[in-house]
Every structure is written in C-alpha cells, then in structure tokens.
C-alpha cells in the first residue's frame, strides 16, 4: 500500500533519525537507573539526563533545575495546574483559562472545580485570540493562576503571551502556558515572555512519544507545585518515578535540533504553508480559519463550505490530515475550537487541518493541493447544499429537520 502524505504533524511528528541515534545506547549498554548513585551504570544514565536537561533548558532560556521531566504535555499540564492549585490554596482558588485550550487543560480545570476551584473560561475573538481587556476584567485577588496556551493545536494562532503574563503578574497571579505546539517551532523564551510554568512534549518536535516536561520557575518568583505522583522523590520531589532515560535523552536531542534549525525551518515551512493556503483559498467558498498574522509557521486550517470534513478526508485518502468534523470523534459535535471562533456548525464540519513538518517537501504540498481540489470538487458534485447554493437558495432560511 502506498503511504499517504503525512500532513498531521500537529497530532504527532515522526522521530528524527538523529534523535533515535542519540537514544539507542540508553536502551542497551547505558541502561542504568539515573537514581542509582553508587555505581557507574547509574552515573552514565544520570549524565545522559543531565545533558538532556541542559539541551532542553537552552531551547527555552531557563536553567536546568527548572525542568521537571514528565510523561508528556498532558501530565505536565495536570502537574502544573493541580500542583499550583494545591500549593497556593491559602492565597485563593480562582483560575483563568480559555475555551480554546487543549482538553488536558480544560478537563484538569473541570476536575478542580469539583474540589473547590473557581474557573473562568475566557472566550476568544473570531480570530482565535483572547481579549486582553476581558482577561484583565476577570482577574481578582483570589486569582492564583492564568493558564493560556502558546500556540493553538487546531488553528495555530499564537496568543499574546507576554501581555497575558504581565496582566497575571500585575494581580499577583502565576502565568502558565501549554506550549506543546510552540516549543521547537518558534522562539520561546520563558524569561522574555514572563512565563512561570510551561508544559511541552517531545513527540511534537521530532522526539519520542511518552516524554515531556514542565518548566517551573525558580527565581522571581520561586514557584512551587504540589507533587501529583508520590514516591521516590525524583525531580526535586515534584514528580516521582524512575526517569525515562532514553526518552529524556531523545527530548534533549530533539530540543537541540530544533534550536539549531528552527529559524530556517520556520521560513521554509511558512513558505510551503502559504503556498498551500493561498492556492486552496482561491477555491470558491473556502475560508481560512484563525488569525493569519499571529500564528505558527506550519499550520493551515481551511473550511470548504458545502462539503463535510469526514467525507472529504475519505476522498483524500492519499493525505493524512485531520478535520474539525464531528464524525472524526464519537461525540458527533464539531470542533469546539472552531465553534468558539463563532464559526457556524456547518463550516466547522467542513474544515481540514494541514499540519506541515520537518519532512514535508514542496512536491508533497503540490500533491496535497491537487488532491484537495479534486476531492472538494467531487464532493460538491454530490452535495445538495452546493446545488442549492448555486441556485441562489439561502440555506439559512430553510427549516432543517434536526435529527
């Protein structure tokens, strides 16, 4: 079977062979437990972890002691939010986040609401960015944490992180960001951005699955989180559990490669993305979703009106992409992120997300354009809505039978 063209790099990225190479010895001869302080096996493993910690710290502009390794961004989000809530209970119980966050943040907040937290879910403007005035108005003396993502996974928009941090700090709250899609793709500097906690993961930046990190600031202010995993006191007591040494080494190497190649890679990817997007948005009744100025270089989210996303993906089986359509999940609800931009359900159902990556070539983008155009045209031939639109019928005036 011919492999489809992989354009779903926001879901996960392939492992860079250079990362794999760095990891391999830590599965075999360097198998030691990094916590074994009494023999060479432990020291060698610890050295690998220490080096990785430096590589990670260098990418985001922090010190090694501020990195807590986790099993991924979901765990890092849980540790950051729950950990801050428990640690700063005395100060207040109010958390502010946004409706377009990943479920790892939203569901963690929902969980805390059952334990006495008060959570404000900020809406977003139609370009996907939060309204800073609305954030400021929501801040109270009880606010202990503002958690707003860096770059959105579905539409790629980049929130005004620095301004958000400043507002949080003005009210004495901490600022956390889920930077899963941003770290390694665009420059992220925790000092310049004023970030107090930050979650990210290896497998979105050409590293392995199952390893990520939480950055926890140690100076101005010194941030503390209550451990969510108790045991041997690893990671300065904040995350117990034997370290995933090969994974951590892989995360480190992935961070180093991103640091060295990010600048040229961002230019290359945004060029390819713009080619894809400008060509496809020339099609009749196609719409680009989200802010096109402040966004990640590798994501395009486009709605093709009058065709349904899952049906469209089936016609594009040569492409591995994702859709905001309900049918891709069991829930039958279209993407909550697209709906929060004010998109009508039918446009949300008609959306396709293209996520480009390090291994995407221009030839693949040309093919993706051709495949998409053909599929959209084919499905519009089948679509009663397209026919009605072409006849000038106003679809919003029809009384549809809900089912």
């Amino acid at each position: 079977m011919k492999q489809p063209i992989y354009l779903d790099n926001n879901a996960t990225t392939p492992l860079d062979p250079r990362v794999l190479e760095a990891m391999l010895p830590y599965f075999t001869e360097k198998f030691g437990n990094a916590a074994s302080r009494n023999h060479a096996f432990g020291w060698v493993a610890e050295e690998g972890v220490d080096y990785a910690r430096e590589q990670v710290a260098k990418l985001i502009g922090c010190t090694e002691k501020e990195i807590i390794f986790t099993s991924g961004a979901t765990e890092a989000d849980n540790l950051g939010i729950k950990g801050v809530f428990e640690m700063y209970k005395e100060k207040g119980n109010h958390i502010i986040t946004a409706v377009t966050e990943h479920k790892a943040v939203l569901d963690t907040c929902k969980h805390l609401e059952k334990n006495g937290a008060r959570v404000t879910y900020l809406g977003v403007k139609e370009d996907g960015l939060i309204d800073l005035a609305e954030l400021e108005a929501a801040m109270t003396e009880e606010t202990i944490l503002v958690s707003i993502m860096y770059g959105n996974n579905e539409i790629g928009v980049i929130q005004p992180v620095k301004e958000i941090a400043a507002i949080a700090h003005k009210f004495g709250a901490l600022f956390m960001t889920d930077a899963t899609q941003a770290v390694g793709k665009i420059p992220v500097d925790v000092i310049a951005d004023g970030i107090d906690l930050m979650a990210f993961t290896a497998h979105k930046m050409y590293g392995p699955k199952g390893v990520g990190a939480l950055y926890v600031r140690r100076k101005n202010p010194r941030v503390k989180v209550t451990s969510q995993m108790d045991g041997g006191g690893h990671e300065r007591g904040m995350r117990s559990g034997t370290l995933n040494v090969p994974g951590i080494v892989g995360l480190g190497k992935a961070c180093e490669l991103c640091r060295l190649e990010m600048e040229s890679e961002a230019i290359r990817l945004s060029g390819l993305r713009d080619k894809l997007e400008s060509t496809l948005s020339k099609m009749e009744e196609s719409y680009v979703n989200g802010n096109t100025q402040h966004r990640l270089p590798h994501v395009a989210n486009i709605s093709f009106k009058y065709v349904e996303g899952e049906g469209l993906m089936m016609a594009m089986s040569d492409l591995a992409v994702s859709s905001g359509s309900a049918c891709t999940s069991a829930s039958l609800e279209p993407s909550y992120v697209l709906k929060s931009l004010g998109l009508s359900d039918d446009l949300a159902h008609s959306s396709i997300r293209y996520g480009l990556g390090r291994f995407t070539t221009e030839e693949e983008i040309d093919q993706a354009i051709a495949v998409t155009e053909k599929a959209v045209n084919h499905l519009r031939e089948l679509s009663p809505l397209w026919e009605m639109f072409k006849e000038g019928i106003d679809l919003s005036k029809i009384e549809w039978a809900e089912h």
Binding site: E308, E310, G311, A315, S325, S344, H349, L382, A401, H403
Partner: protein
C-alpha cells in the same frame, strides 16, 4: 476508522447521483438532516404506472457512510412499488454496508429520506401522508 468495502465502493462510485425535476407530479423529494449536524440527504423518486418507482436520484452532504447509505437506497428503490419501498428498514442498510454503531444515524437518515420522498409524492397526488413511525434513533 476503517470503512467496509461496500461503503468504499458506493463512495467511490456513487450510484444515481443527480437531480429530478422536483416540480413534476411524478417526482417525490425528501430532504432530511441539517447542515449543523454534518449531514443532509436529498433523495428523489420518480413514480410510474402501478406506483412503481422508475427512477431514483440522490445528493448527500455528509461522511462516507452517509453517502453510501443514500447511494444504496437509490439502488434498492428502483423497481419497487412505493408500498414495498416503505418497508425498507434502516437496519437493512446497516447490515448491507456493515456500518459500525457510530454510523447507524446515517442509515436512519436514509430511511427518513425514503419515507419523506414517498410522502412528498403522495401529498402531491392527493393522497394522505403516511404517519412516520419514529425510527431507531
């Protein structure tokens, strides 16, 4: 999700795509579903002498299973009388296309479209609309 071979076949080679003259009194049109729900089916039948369905056409906005369900429905309708057509059950479609549980609603929609097209034809020709039993939602 993997699709059954029959779904893929109907999807790649949809039968009877098209439009009949909805103003003709021999044509019944059923338009069901809603854009917000991610699927809309339009199914049309042309009825000849002895209430036999001589032609059927569809257009569907929806996922592969919705397109396949309506394509299959048009195949089954041709040659049946409208009374026979009323006996087509959504579970027959589920079985024929091997639809997974999350796609059963596509077959329900196809059954609704058949009944709605038949009713449109009946009303146009001075017959009473058939009271539709709520199908397996």
């Amino acid at each position: 999700m993997a699709y059954s071979e029959k779904v893929i076949d109907h999807y790649n080679n949809p039968r009877n795509v098209g439009t009949l003259n909805k103003d003709s009194k021999f044509v019944g049109t059923g338009l069901v579903g809603a854009p917000e729900c991610g699927d809309v089916m339009r199914l049309q039948i042309e009825v000849g002498a002895d209430n036999v369905i001589t032609d059927a056409k569809f257009k569907t906005f929806g996922c592969g299973s919705a397109i396949a369900s309506s394509s299959l429905a048009t195949e089954w309708l041709k040659g049946k009388t409208i009374d026979e057509a009323l006996t087509i059950d959504n579970m027959d479609i589920v079985e024929e296309l091997a639809l997974p549980p999350v796609k059963i609603h596509c077959s329900v929609l196809a059954e609704d479209a058949i009944k709605s097209a038949i009713n449109d034809y009946r009303v146009k020709n001075g017959l009473e609309a058939i009271v539709l039993e709520k199908s397996h939602h």
